[in-house]
């Protein structure tokens, strides 16, 4: 167990935005909200999965919706706690811990608000090791753990409990409610035991995010190449370097969906990369050829500072580096690919791990 103070949150939000692959929300807003909660209610107890007992009770806390909305309609502040308490009341038992559903600039810090306000510890894990757009896209789904009962709340004072027959239905019903709430909502879900958490979730995600954040910060301070530092710490590959030439982005069906086009610079001069996204980056194509796809991570970094750029922050003219990062091995199983592979997102291609794609294409440089 260790205590998390405001200064730790900065690294966590920054590193989680790298793992967020364009989604998971703006790390700046995430940092401000987490810091505000810790300043008001004290440091958060942070425990590793091994530290919690098998029969303890856990639920994940997250923000749901489109990141394009989150940068404008900031939370009231208590809806995340409302959702958590609504779930606890419905279950009629105390929830001992909370944890993250996904790693993302905002969603890595969302559970800190719950932990600080309710004085419960936060478990260092998440359901993805990255961010994905839909509720069922977490490793616990593969282990048969139900997302419901689930609570959803908004800033206006609306709240609802959802019970569904499977996690795909949870996504469908929750998304409809979320859209009515303005395409942002706070949720508490996946109530499970400590034993289930240890078996099904990705351990250590927040510590990994913190280490990535620290690496970026230190590389900048020590004047090393921060892009190379990130690439090394995540074990990724530089897929492209270029300038944003076009961003097509719409808030539709409860997500930020769209496509971005980059014109190559430096050794990629004259070439082009397109990126498809649904909150998170799903598919990267270089000159018409797929170079990385879900469930591997596709991350955009500012070409100079290695600041992760979210899809809602992508702007015409930005100079960026595109990294491909291997995903957690759980996603590379047939069950994992059925849940989050390219075909689920209606791309008619086989999943090929990013490291194999890079080895196949001679031009990709693993700097």
């Amino acid at each position: 167990m260790r205590l998390i103070y405001p200064e730790n949150l900065e690294d966590i939000a920054l590193g989680a935005a790298v793992l967020g692959t364009g989604g998971g929300g703006d790390p700046y807003i995430g940092k401000l909200m987490g810091i505000d909660a810790i300043n008001k209610y004290g440091p958060v107890q942070f425990v590793s999965p091994e530290e919690i007992s098998d029969d303890s009770f856990v639920a994940t806390s997250a923000m749901m919706g489109a990141p394009t909305v989150m940068v404008e309609k900031l939370p009231k502040g208590r809806e995340i706690v409302d959702a958590f308490l609504a779930l606890q009341t419905y279950l009629d038992r105390k929830i001992d811990y909370t944890t993250s559903a996904e790693a993302g600039g905002l969603n890595s810090t969302t559970p800190f608000t719950v932990a600080a306000r309710l004085g419960i510890p936060l478990v260092d894990a998440d359901g993805m090791g990255r961010a994905f757009p839909e509720i069922q896209m977490v490793t616990p789904t593969m282990y048969g753990i139900a997302a419901t009962p689930m609570a959803i709340a908004d800033e206006k004072g609306n709240a609802s409990i959802i019970n569904t027959m499977d996690n795909h239905w949870t996504e469908r019903l929750a998304r409809t409610i979320c859209i009515e709430m303005g395409t942002t909502a706070m949720i508490a879900l996946f109530p499970m035991t400590g034993r289930q958490l240890k078996e099904s979730m990705v351990p250590g995600t927040l510590t990994r995010a913190e280490r990535i954040g620290q690496t970026i910060r230190q590389a900048r301070q020590q004047h090393e190449n921060p892009i190379e530092a990130v690439r090394a710490v995540v074990g990724g590959f530089e897929l492209f370097r270029g300038k944003v030439a076009d961003v097509q982005r719409r808030t539709e069906t409860g997500f930020a969906r769209g496509e971005a086009t980059f014109q190559g610079t430096d050794e990629w001069e004259g070439r082009q990369l397109t990126l498809r996204f649904q909150n998170e980056h799903l598919l990267a194509m270089r000159d018409g050829q797929v170079v990385a796809s879900v469930p591997d991570l596709i991350t955009i970094l500012d070409a100079e500072t290695a600041e992760p750029v979210t899809t809602e922050g992508l702007r015409y003219g930005f100079r960026v580096v595109v990294l491909g990062i291997p995903c957690d091995p759980k996603w590379r199983t047939p069950e994992g690919l059925a849940l989050v592979g390219p075909r689920y997102f209606k791309y008619d291609i086989d999943y090929i791990p990013v490291e194999e794609r890079v080895a196949q294409t001679s031009r990709a440089v693993a700097v």
Partner: protein, 520 residues
């Protein structure tokens, strides 16, 4: 011919240019009223060059006045920051992430009111008109004269900001009103920050722009004048008076472009040492490297398109203190250098005095510092050099050695090699690089329009907006061969039945060198 002027905290520089040729230049201390400094600089220019007033086609003014006011927390007026968004947004109220001293300077007057829109145009809540009447009463009782209004998703629907401005305007006469949708894009906190900073500069903007007008009138120069914006393009004076926040970072942009122009070097670090502060930035292909991430000004986060520049407190007027160790700056005697500096008969030890004592230059009465302790001189120079080395190192994006271009009047302080520099270049006219940058400012053309996608595809709408922006830039005086699109911002307006989108495009090009007035 054109005149470029740089009104800094310490000096007012002016340069007369004929096409791309520097005809003459002059540097004089900035005066408290601003205008008499400009007058004396311009009088000198015109006299020396014997150019009649009517040959001047335009005056381009760059000023760091507004940035400095925020950085120094001086000359700012208290602001009522009114946000329309309840019940949302309460967790992060206006100015939540501002430095406390700046928030205090502005009086901490924040108001959260019901209102704002969802992304799809629905209302989060109806506008709290009664609440606004109460806000107005409070503004009146506190005697506030400037208000910044921000509303959730106002780039999608600006109606509530406009209605709130109307209500407050009726209740409180003569209010200076800034609406966030007029200066910012999506991203509530950054847009609101820009609006609040604009609001706190309300008085200063009127005063400074009037002093520019006044100076030109008294010199009987009829030519239009323009003010440099943060991205290095020009805006007309009336616009600058309403939106002073748009001048932020124009100083470094001008000096970096001036440095590239004077040296002919396109890949380099630029160090501009002024009277109070120094700016360090990087030139890539002859242009300042822009920051992709949010830029903080005076500690406040914004999302303007502007160069990535590091400013620190070293200048020709910086105070030198000895108290065990030697400290340089960050405070400066500013424009009082010529009365307070030792070599000018004053009693304050400044960096300029040390440079004179070291024999870097002759100025004032060198005899007054001839006996200065050598150890103090050396330690001060060490400290100056160290601060420049650190700043250059911080702003470099790779370990490779690059040329360093030194500009600005204060660059006489730097007489030793700079760490990490392949060479140090001090071009001709280096003291007035900033004014030259203003004179060769780029010309922009902007389009901000709602397109219905009923008969047009998205690509057609974007192309149309880009073409319009390009021709607007050329019409305004940009060289067609250099003009290019630098910014595209697209906001889907899904609430409109025809599936519309709002498109903002900016195109920018080099100033064309014909003798005709600009149409900015």
């Amino acid at each position: 011919m054109r005149i470029g002027v740089d009104v800094g905290g310490t000096n007012t520089d002016a340069v007369l240019m004929d096409g791309m040729r520097v005809v003459s230049w002059y540097k004089t201390p900035t005066t408290p009223d601003v205008s008499s400094g400009i007058i004396s600089a311009l009088e000198h220019l015109l006299q020396e060059s014997q150019v009649p007033n009517d040959r001047i086609l335009g005056v381009m003014i760059g000023t760091t006045h507004f940035t400095n006011a925020v950085v120094e927390r001086k000359r700012l007026i208290p602001v009522a920051a009114v946000r329309l968004g309840l019940p949302a947004t309460e967790s992060l109220p206006p100015m939540v992430d501002w430095p406390a001293d700046l928030r205090d300077t502005l009086g901490n007057h924040t108001y959260l009111v019901h209102g704002g829109h969802e992304f799809d145009g629905r209302e989060i809540a109806p506008l709290g008109e009664k609440e606004l009447i109460d806000v107005a009463a409070d503004i009146r009782s506190k005697g506030l004269r400037s208000v910044a209004i921000s509303s959730v998703f106002s780039p999608v629907n600006a109606g509530m900001e406009e209605r709130a401005a109307q209500i407050l305007g009726e209740e409180v006469p003569d209010l200076f009103v800034t609406l966030s949708h007029e200066i910012g894009r999506i991203g509530l906190l950054e847009r609101e920050n820009a609006a609040i900073m604009n609001a706190c500069l309300g008085d200063l903007a009127v005063r400074i722009v009037n002093s520019f007008r006044d100076a030109l009138r008294r010199l009987q120069i009829d030519a239009p004048f323009y003010i440099s914006q943060n991205d290095g393009t020009l805006m007309n004076a009336d616009f600058a008076e309403k939106y002073p926040v748009l001048t932020f970072a124009s100083g470094p942009t001008n000096s970096m472009r001036g440095a590239a122009f004077l040296s002919g070097v396109k890949e380099a670090m630029v160090v501009d040492v002024g009277g109070t502060t120094s700016d360090v930035g990087m030139l890539i292909h002859g242009f300042p490297r822009e920051s992709s991430v949010a830029v903080a000004i005076g500690g406040v986060r914004t999302n303007f398109r502007m160069p990535d520049v590091l400013s620190f407190g070293l200048g020709g007027g910086s105070l030198v203190r000895q108290n065990g160790s030697v400290r340089v700056g960050p405070d400066s005697v500013g424009y009082e250098l010529t009365t307070r500096g030792l070599v000018f008969g004053g009693d304050t030890l400044t960096t300029t005095d040390v440079a004179v004592a070291a024999g870097y230059l002759e100025l004032g009465e060198p005899a007054r510092v001839a006996g200065m302790d050598r150890d103090l001189v050396n330690r001060t120079l060490d400290e100056i050099q160290r601060s420049v080395d650190v700043a250059v190192d911080r702003m470099k994006t790779s370990a490779a050695r690059l040329p360093v271009i030194l500009v600005g009047g204060g660059s006489i302080l730097i007489g030793r090699p700079i760490q990490g520099a392949s060479e140090v270049i001090k071009p001709d006219h280096f003291p007035v690089a900033n004014a030259i940058g203003a004179a060769i400012a780029q010309i922009g053309g902007e389009v901000d329009r709602v397109f219905s996608l009923e008969r047009l595809t998205r690509d057609q709408a974007l192309d149309q907006a880009k073409q319009e922006a390009l021709s607007k830039a050329v019409e305004a005086g940009a060289d067609a061969a250099t003009v290019q699109v630098v910014d595209v911002d697209e906001v889907p307006l899904t609430y409109l039945p025809s599936n519309a989108m709002r498109v903002r495009v900016k195109a920018v090009g080099d100033l064309v060198l014909s003798e005709r007035p600009l149409a900015v």
